[in-house]
């Protein structure tokens, strides 16, 4: 294919395969794996189909429905594999696949089973830490190395954990189905948590210095939108999406042009994304009307209170304290306690807030928890305890991984000691 036409056909075929991969990867994996429960085999079959597409489409042109084409080839591959095996369960998988292929007519469209796949990936039998990586790989098609880098884990380890988790889903027969009403809330919580941790990874890198991490926030929102669209009557799914959109709306304001860290309190609200905030508010309103409050709705409500500042110029800390009180009752999480203390510092002064932090210090996890030390430093400084503030700043600086936040904290510490 040296001539110009050949090259452009090839490029078009490449683009079509790539577009199909991005848009329908998860859909196709979900569909192929839903019956057999074997995600790894589904992924293998699909990668064979994508390779076949890249070889075939430049010659015969991109099919009208690339998804259906890829699905047919992948299924054929799974069926061929099934023929070669004698194991009874695989033989029955094989029959099911054949039946499925005969039943389906090409114009019916591909049923969306991604939600079922997500529930399988976030099943309680799957270790908590691998749920989000598993969803990123199966729904979005990320490779293990990219996921490992985002989660700060070695690529080999991440690869092994993903393989083990998929083997567990297949061997333990973790079902691809929506949980019963009785367990839906708890199981949905695990799915949402996996999505939120994906988003949080990207949000932790607002400078966008790491393109991959910046993407993670976008991928988290994409997954959140998917779940909100597939489960429109679940207020927590809407709440999570609202929370992520509120946070993402402030992205442009979180760093100066020189790359310096700008804390929420001093951000230029004109830089916040108004469209995103309005979308978040509408979602939160819809969720609230369902009368089933939850963690993500409350967290989104906190962000909603902060968002009001762009209109009123003020922050209603009393409202934020109330919301964190409710969250504290619900979760008893030390992270919530820390945020509650920051709100209390505004409503009742730094001494009261430091009392909350003193209690929190009993928790051994606080020793290496950077936000705890940054908050403590700020509160000590506000209450005039320069020596304690200095120690806490030093600790926060030593634990910080983001260069611009580190610089900010160092400047705060230097200013404290100068005065």
């Amino acid at each position: 294919m040296q001539d110009r036409t050949g090259q452009s056909i090839e490029a078009a075929a490449h683009r079509a395969a790539e577009t199909a991969a991005r848009q329908s990867y998860g859909k196709l994996v979900a569909l192929l794996a839903a019956r057999t429960g074997d995600i790894a085999r589904a992924e293998d079959a699909l990668s064979v189909a994508f390779a076949a597409a890249l070889a075939d489409w430049p010659k015969s042109g991109v099919p009208v429905t690339p998804d259906a084409w890829l699905l047919a080839v992948a299924r054929r591959k799974l069926i061929d594999e099934g023929r070669g095996r004698q194991v009874r369960s695989l033989a029955s998988d094989h029959l099911r696949l054949l039946a499925e292929e005969m039943e389906e007519t090409p114009d019916v469209g591909i049923p969306d089973r991604r939600l079922l796949l997500m529930f399988a990936c976030a099943h309680p039998a799957i270790e908590g830490g691998i749920r989000a990586p598993l969803i990123l790989q199966t729904i979005l098609g990320f490779d293990a190395a990219a996921i490992a880098s985002a989660f700060l884990v070695s690529p080999t380890t991440m690869g092994q954990r993903l393989v083990r988790a998929k083997a567990k889903i297949a061997q333990a027969k973790i079902p691809f189905r929506l949980p019963d009403t009785s367990e839906l809330a708890a199981r949905l919580e695990a799915v949402l948590e996996a999505i939120y941790s994906t988003f949080a990874l990207g949000w932790a890198d607002p400078s966008g210095g790491d393109a991959r991490l910046g993407n993670m926030a976008g991928e988290g929102i994409w997954l959140g939108e998917l779940v909100a669209a597939l489960m429109p009557d679940e207020p927590e799914a809407l709440g999570l999406l609202a929370l992520m959109l509120h946070s993402q709306a402030r992205r442009p304001a979180r760093r100066s042009e020189a790359g310096d860290y700008i804390p929420l309190a001093t951000q230029d609200t004109a830089l916040w994304d108004a469209t995103m905030i309005e979308h978040a508010e509408a979602l939160l309103y819809r969720a609230g009307a369902m009368g089933r409050p939850g963690r993500y709705q409350l967290e989104a409500a906190v962000q909603s209170v902060h968002a009001v500042r762009r209109i009123s110029g003020e922050t209603d800390w009393q409202a934020i304290e109330h919301l964190y009180n409710a969250l504290w009752t619900m979760t008893a999480s030390p992270v919530v306690a820390l945020n509650r203390a920051v709100a209390v510092a505004q409503t009742r002064g730094p001494a009261q807030a430091l009392a909350i932090l003193d209690e929190l210090e009993q928790d051994p996890r606080m020793a290496a928890y950077q936000p705890y030390w940054a908050a403590r430093a700020d509160l000590c400084a506000k209450s005039g305890d320069i020596a304690a503030a200095d120690i806490a700043y030093q600790r926060a600086i030593g634990l910080e991984a983001d260069a611009s936040v580190r610089r900010f904290l160092q400047a705060q510490q230097a200013r404290l000691l100068r005065n």
């Binding site: 700060l152 884990v153 070695s154 380890t157 020793a367 290496a368 030093q394 600790r395 600086i397 030593g398 634990l399 910080e400 991984a401 260069a403 580190r406 610089r407 160092q410 510490q413």
Partner: protein, 115 residues
């Protein structure tokens, strides 16, 4: 499990940096070292003098030779190390990410083969 965090950075950056930014980066290293200590993971570590002070010794066919300079001429030079004792590689990678070297260089993490 012990890991060595090997810090690679471009030495010329320090020669061209102003006093204020040198002080800031030293402060960052001090804070980081203290955080390693207070978290109870620090085994040891030191900063090395510039790679121009290095000598390299080789023995071939019973004949030794000494060369001026580091083992390899690279853009980033080996400039210091920390040895930490943590539960697993994930924890070691977490500490490596907090190392101020990441602002301008690279941190290599290697498990230590106990002798």
């Amino acid at each position: 499990m012990q890991y060595m965090l090997m810090l690679y950075l471009d030495e010329t950056r320090f020669q061209t940096s102003d006093k204020a930014s040198l002080e800031r980066i030293h402060g960052a290293y001090n804070a980081y070292t203290e955080a390693l200590k207070t978290s109870g993971v620090l085994v040891g570590g030191d900063r090395l003098k510039p790679s121009a002070t290095a000598s390299t010794v080789r023995v071939k066919d019973g004949k030794s030779s000494v060369l001026d300079g580091p083992y390899a001429e690279t853009k980033e030079q080996f400039g210091g190390f920390y040895i930490i004792d943590v539960a697993d590689l994930d924890a070691a990678l977490g500490w490596a990410a907090r190392c101020p070297t990441t602002e301008h260089g690279t941190v290599e993490v290697r498990p230590i083969w106990a002798m």
